[in-house]
């Protein structure tokens, strides 16, 4: 197992390198930090040349890449070309904000998804099963930004107008009320409700499907029958035997998803003005700010790789039948 982890970790180094080189090439080919300035007639040609030179953008691209890589490896994440701000704190803040949104959604989704999944497996072909299965498919099929839009309008405008409220029923954007000082938990939670709903609708749908399928497999298995035959009571059978086995795949899936979160929730963050990793990426991409895009990419890919590994390890721990060598 240790060897397996070491191998996976080592193999990911070339993956990271290739990913960063391709991303660098594409960013270079599609966007330039100078473009926005060039389209500003107030900026003279001389100023553009000075700017390009000052920022080293006139150096050959491979040199630019290697300079960035050298700094990155030495732990210097550098500063953004466009904003002149250090990249590290921006990514840290973005990651933190994204995680607030993402982890909340995951917790909500896992609780709901597992609950619904188990219940509909136990009561297979009941009305509840059909209802939850139907809702799950609906959740998987709904265009996110459309759903977000509808929620914003309903909770931000329609309901607020019907009840003649001065402030919206639920805030439609931002992480907390403007100008709020300190941490007001209620306020934070109110701001989380709509974006978390948008995200959870998808995740709950998926997790409840996983859970239901896993539970059904277990419920129809021989060993559960044996457990029952041994005279264990139904509750023990469910909790101790069925759930543990049914949830094993879900645990690793969830671990992978948490890793993937680092990439940001581009649509949700954009709509709800949530300053996370997705928004950070989009703006850096628009600016052709390769120093931010590349560092961003490395962090995100590293997250994905690490959490994939964690998923594998969890899987092996939970399911002793799996062996890696």
């Amino acid at each position: 197992m240790g060897q397996y982890i070491a191998r996976r970790a080592l193999v990911s180094i070339p993956v990271l390198l290739i990913a960063s080189i391709s991303v660098f090439a594409i960013v270079k080919a599609t966007a330039s930090p100078v473009a926005a300035i060039r389209s500003n007639p107030r900026v003279s040609q001389a100023a553009i040349e000075k700017y390009t030179h000052d920022l080293g953008l006139d150096k050959p691209p491979p040199e630019q890449y290697l300079t960035w890589l050298g700094n990155f490896i030495r732990g210097k994440w550098g500063t953004s070309i466009v904003t002149g701000r250090p990249v590290g704190p921006d990514i840290r803040d973005g990651l933190f904000n994204t995680m607030i949104l993402g982890i909340t959604s995951f917790l909500v989704s896992i609780v709901l998804g597992v609950g619904v999944g188990i219940f509909s497996a136990v009561r297979q072909y009941s009305f509840f099963d059909y209802l939850s299965t139907g809702s799950a498919f609906l959740g998987l099929s709904i265009p996110v930004f459309w759903f977000a839009l509808i929620l914003q309008i309903v909770f931000g405008l329609y309901l607020t107008n019907w009840f003649h409220l001065a402030t919206p029923v639920l805030p439609t954007a931002g992480m907390f009320s403007p100008g709020a000082t300190g941490i007001d938990l209620i306020d934070r939670i109110r701001h989380l409700i709509l974006p978390v709903t948008v995200l959870s609708v998808q995740i709950v749908a998926l997790y409840s499907r996983y859970t239901r399928a896993g539970m059904l497999d277990v419920l129809h298995s021989d060993y559960l029958r044996t457990a029952r035959a041994k005279g264990l009571n139904e509750r023990t059978v469910m909790m101790r035997h069925a759930m543990r086995n049914a949830l094993t795949p879900l645990v690793s899936v969830a671990a992978i998803d948490v890793g993937a979160l680092a990439g940001g929730l581009i649509v949700t963050e954009t709509i709800f003005s949530w300053p996370g990793m997705g928004v950070l990426f989009i703006s850096a991409m628009e600016n052709g700010d390769y120093s931010v895009v590349l560092t961003w990419m490395m962090i995100v890919v590293a997250f994905v790789i690490v959490f994939n590994l964690i998923a594998d390890i969890l899987y092996a721990v939970l399911d002793p039948r799996i062996r890696y060598d």
């Binding site: 990913a19 991303v23 998987l140 099929s141 998808q202 890793g259 994905v304």
Partner: protein, 319 residues
């Protein structure tokens, strides 16, 4: 799973189906017990028929497909025809689903837009299906260094969030229908490649593959005639679900401004560009959204039905 989390390349539910492919022969034998004289397809079809929702969905999809293909017959107006005096009419006589900011008939635009959206969905699913199948087949069949190489490439593609690479690539290529189909296809094949590889790795050890080789079958023939048909279930399910995903992702790209560019109508860009009108001309937001929802829902139901139909263990569970 369309936006955000999907962008992480969720290990598809389909990946669990490797298990189904691992036991094709004896499980089929089990299936055969109640299906004497039927080919696999007939068995699958019969089992699919039992899945009423899937069949209903299939019917709706066929209907949508027919309307899309014969859009010029069904659409009451041209998709680009402008009635400038009738800007933003709400649904009613003359324009059943209202008009947009240029006085174009929303129903007609939905019909023509559906043509593009469905074409994108199917185009992406098919081409990504082909790529994924080829990559997975080669990796699973030849194994060794080729397998390692291809799987590292797959990992590479999988480790970057889907939406991110799509945005990057769409920026590079452009916003025509073909561009978007190409971009989506290039980044949609990985889950399928893994599934196919898994199937092939187990199929490779089957005696019937050795039997084929011993009568002189070429590698190509072995892959195409012997291994692929035994891995077809997961492939079909996956390709079907990819249709839904491609339609959704196209709409997300449109929302972010990287999708198919107007004036070519797609449900995605119609929805995206009227999002400012949600309160003033809600029909422009509701109808494209509902079209996407309905289509994707139907595809998902169909995919689910197919999954059950291809999954031999389902027989063990009493319906």
């Amino acid at each position: 799973m369309t936006d955000d989390i999907k962008s992480a390349h969720h290990p598809e539910i389909g990946e669990l189906e490797i298990a189904a492919a691992e036991l094709p022969d004896d499980t089929l034998a089990r299936m055969g017990l109640d299906a004497v004289g039927a080919s696999q397809w007939r068995i699958v079809w019969r089992r699919l028929l039992r899945h009423r929702l899937a069949i209903a969905s299939f019917g709706i999809l066929v209907l949508l497909g027919v309307i899309a293909v014969f859009a010029n017959v069904f659409a009451p107006h041209g998709y680009a025809t402008q009635y400038l005096s009738q800007q933003l009419r709400s649904p009613g006589a003359g324009h059943w689903l209202g008009t947009d900011t240029l006085g174009r008939d929303e129903l007609s635009r939905l019909i023509y837009g559906g043509r593009i959206s469905l074409a994108v969905g199917f185009g992406v699913a098919l081409s990504a299906g082909v790529i994924g199948t080829i990559v997975g087949s080669l990796a699973g069949f030849y194994g060794g260094r080729l397998d390692t190489l291809l799987m590292r490439v797959t990992d590479l593609f999988l480790s970057i969030p889907l939406l991110v690479i799509l945005i990057v690539a769409a920026t590079l290529l452009g916003g025509s229908v073909l561009d978007i189909v190409i971009v989506l296809s290039i980044f949609f094949w990985m889950p399928l490649a893994r599934i196919v590889r898994g199937s092939f790795l187990s199929l490779r050890e089957k005696e019937f593959v050795e039997a084929a080789r011993s009568v002189g079958a070429s590698n190509f023939r072995i892959i195409v005639r012997h291994m692929l048909p035994n891995a077809i279930g997961p492939i079909i399910v996956n390709v079907t679900l990819a249709v839904a995903e491609a339609i959704l992702i196209e709409s997300v790209l449109s929302f972010l401004g990287f999708g198919i560019q107007p004036p070519t109508p797609t449900w995605g860009n119609m929805l995206a560009e009227s999002r400012d009108l949600a309160t003033t001309a809600p029909w422009l937001v509701w109808f494209p959204g509902l079209c996407i929802l309905l289509t994707v829902l139907c595809v998902n139901f169909l995919g689910d039905g197919l999954r059950d139909a291809f999954d031999p263990t389902q027989d063990l569970i009493k319906r």
